[in-house]
């Protein structure tokens, strides 16, 4: 195959600029240390590399386990056409989270230490193990796309044989570490602002991960239908939207009850720094999406569902950032705003994610279950053949 120079589009230009700046920021981080590359301090040791890159990164990758559970455990087979993009997002997401951790860790070359130096009392230890194992599970769940492309049928049969326990393991590992990211903050009741500190943090992290997993699936399905020329399964996306409404409502009511039971309602309407950002979070993640979904025009249209999914994703990103940054500032006695290097590294990681997603959908049968035209006629026929043989669980 002859290599042709890709056309320079607006978004590709943006990506290149971000990556060049990201490379410079990476140089600063690893040659001059965390002090030069971040606005972190003894008072504020975790910034957006933990708050966004890790907490949000893992949350945004939740579509993989949500759909795998729906399709393969609850046997809702009609969601199959959207499972592969969700798995791809999840796999890329976890790889990027691991990459981002290398920036944030003071001694990144020791990242493997938790695997041999155990401390079962540490949430971080548990998260480390779960993320390592789940990334492996995702690699196994993702592998059929590669093997199909290479038309290797024997590995596909082996993968099929182990598929059910692997899916269950993946769902369990996700349940554990999605919630454990909330448990990270259980130990700081006197530092995290009462609007966010609750013994139920792990439960809220888990439920919101499911909502965000559904929102991300709607988001990426719509986006790739628009920009990568795949067919959008509107009926499926509508169903995803409805399930999301149920999860969001449940979460909202639960959150309200918890605030009330802890006597934290008095902090809601003070309109100070924390209260304002809390209200922004609730408006974006719960109030606006649920209000919009009351309208038939919104919940039955691709554009409306896309908008709602963007709101939900933004809302829960705000939630995670509120917990990691906003809620921790007052007790620390300092204010924290990320340095440009922190922002650029984060943007570069997101950019790499988008680019990798686009490239993977181009070369792997991610959407091929319902759209094979881009593989060419022969490949399409053989691809279809491979799909017939492919493991039930992973297709």
């Amino acid at each position: 195959m002859k290599f042709t120079m890709p056309r320079l589009t607006f978004w590709r230009a943006v990506l290149i600029i971000i990556l060049v700046l990201g490379a410079y920021a990476t140089f600063i981080r690893f040659f001059y240390g965390l002090g030069a590359a971040t606005h972190l301090s003894d008072e504020f040791p975790w910034g957006i590399w933990i708050g966004f890159d890790v907490l949000c990164g893992v949350m945004l990758a939740a579509g993989g386990f949500t759909l795998m559970a729906a399709i393969n455990i609850f046997n809702v087979k009609r969601f199959k056409p959207v499972v592969r993009p969700a798995l791809l997002t999840a796999f890329l997401g976890y790889l990027l989270v691991c990459g981002a951790l290398l920036f944030d860790l003071g001694k990144p070359y020791n990242i493997w230490h938790p695997l041999i130096m155990w401390n079962p009392h540490s949430v971080m230890f548990e998260v480390g193990w779960c993320v390592t194992l789940y990334t492996t599970v995702l690699a196994i769940e993702f592998a059929p796309m590669v093997f199909e492309r290479l038309r290797m049928e024997k590995p596909l049969r082996i993968l099929h044989f182990i598929s059910t326990p692997i899916v269950i393991l993946g769902v369990l590992l996700s349940t554990l570490h999605q919630s454990s990211l909330g448990s990270l903050y259980l130990i700081v009741p006197e530092k995290l602002y009462p609007l966010w500190y609750t013994p139920l943090l792990p439960v809220f992290f888990f439920i919101s991960a499911i909502a965000v997993g559904l929102a991300m699936t709607i988001f990426e399905s719509t986006l790739s239908a628009r920009h990568l020329g795949h067919h959008l399964e509107l009926p499926l996306v509508k169903d995803l939207g409805r399930i999301m409404v149920v999860v969001l409502t449940f979460y909202g009511v639960f959150r309200l009850l918890d605030l009330n039971n802890r006597g934290a309602m008095k902090y809601v309407w003070t309109f100070d720094y924390e209260s304002s950002l809390f209200l922004v979070e609730i408006a974006l993640s719960l109030v606006l999406p649920l209000l919009l979904m009351l309208f038939k025009q919104v919940r039955d249209s691709a554009m409306g569902l896309y908008l709602v999914s963007v709101l939900v994703v933004t809302g829960f990103i705000t939630n995670r950032m509120n917990i990691a940054v906003t809620g921790m500032e007052r007790a620390s006695g300092v204010t924290y705003f990320p340095k440009w290097t922190e922002i650029v590294v984060t943007l570069a990681i997101v950019g790499v994610g988008f680019a990798a997603f686009a490239i993977a959908t181009k070369y792997l049968p991610v959407f091929s279950a319902n759209d094979e035209s881009h593989l060419g006629p022969t490949a399409a026929r053989e691809g279809a053949h491979a799909l017939d043989q492919a493991p039930a669980t992973f297709v």
């Binding site: 003071g106 540490s122 949430v123 059910t164 017939d388």
Partner: protein, 262 residues
């Protein structure tokens, strides 16, 4: 037995000899400029804070009985020793800084300017105290404001002082209960909050808040595996039954056939 430090602020004259001794013991730079810094940092493990009216208060690692830092460290780089000190192993540390986030007293400090940074904090002179010696700060203290000994003896002494001279002290031994108790006990004539010591710490150990949840993981895994496996079995068996009864000849898809295990 577990050792402890008792610091009685009413005996302190603010001479900062403890600071200097600490710097010498830990091979840290110490001069006029460092002496003026009234906060702990990666190059200052203890400090004597002062307020008008010759009020002084030391700040150093509290060496909690059940330390948050040791509980959250994913690699066990921080450890509570039987002898009392909470010690740090830089070889294990991967630099996640969860200890800094978790410590209720904000004690662990980081070498932000170094390419390969370490966590730094008071280790209660582990080379000395783990072999039966006393801490450098205690040794240097000219007035006996800082004392070192068995935890229960130090606690008894603190109680005795509160009992015998109640007019000299606020009615509290800071560290006796905070976060489940610490191996550094503080006495003061003015409220501890004035020096930045938190009054909102729970009396139970903070790691317990986490472990209450973490200890359920084996249950979640074992019950979850059975539950999810069961749901899988039921939902997929329905399909097989339907297939066997011939009700569902509509879509004999290739992938349905291959699921033979259930």
């Amino acid at each position: 037995m577990s050792k402890a430090i008792l610091y009685d602020a009413t005996l302190c004259i603010g001479c900062k000899q403890c600071e200097e001794a600490c710097a010498r013991e830990n091979k840290l730079p110490y001069d006029e400029a460092v002496a003026k810094e009234e906060k702990t940092s990666d190059h200052k493990f203890t400090t004597v804070m002062s307020l008008p009216g010759d009020k002084y208060m030391r700040k150093l690692c509290m060496h909690c009985a059940d330390p948050s830092c040791a509980s959250v460290c994913p690699v066990g780089a921080l450890e509570k020793t039987k002898a009392g000190p909470v010690v740090y192993d830089e070889g294990k540390c991967m630099g996640c800084r969860y200890c800094m986030v978790a410590c209720p007293f904000s004690i662990p400090k980081y070498e932000w300017t170094k390419q390969i940074p370490r966590v730094r904090k008071c280790e209660m002179c582990k080379e000395r105290t783990l072999t039966g010696g006393i801490t450098a700060c205690t040794e240097a203290c000219p007035t006996g404001a800082t004392m070192f000994g068995e935890l229960d003896e130090m606690y008894a002494l603190a109680q005795q002082r509160l009992r015998e001279n109640p007019e000299n002290y606020v009615k509290q031994i800071y560290g006796a209960q905070q976060g489940g108790g610490t191996s550094v006990l503080l006495l003061s004539s003015i409220p501890f909050e004035k020096f930045g010591y938190k009054s909102n710490l729970p009396n139970e150990s903070l790691p317990a808040l986490t472990f209450r949840v973490l200890s359920h993981i084996p249950d979640v895994v074992s019950l979850g595996f059975v539950l999810l496996g069961g749901i899988y079995w039921i939902t997929n068996r329905r399909e097989d039954v339907a297939l066997a009864e011939g009700r569902q000849a509509a879509k004999p898809n290739g992938d349905k056939k291959t699921r033979g295990q259930s």
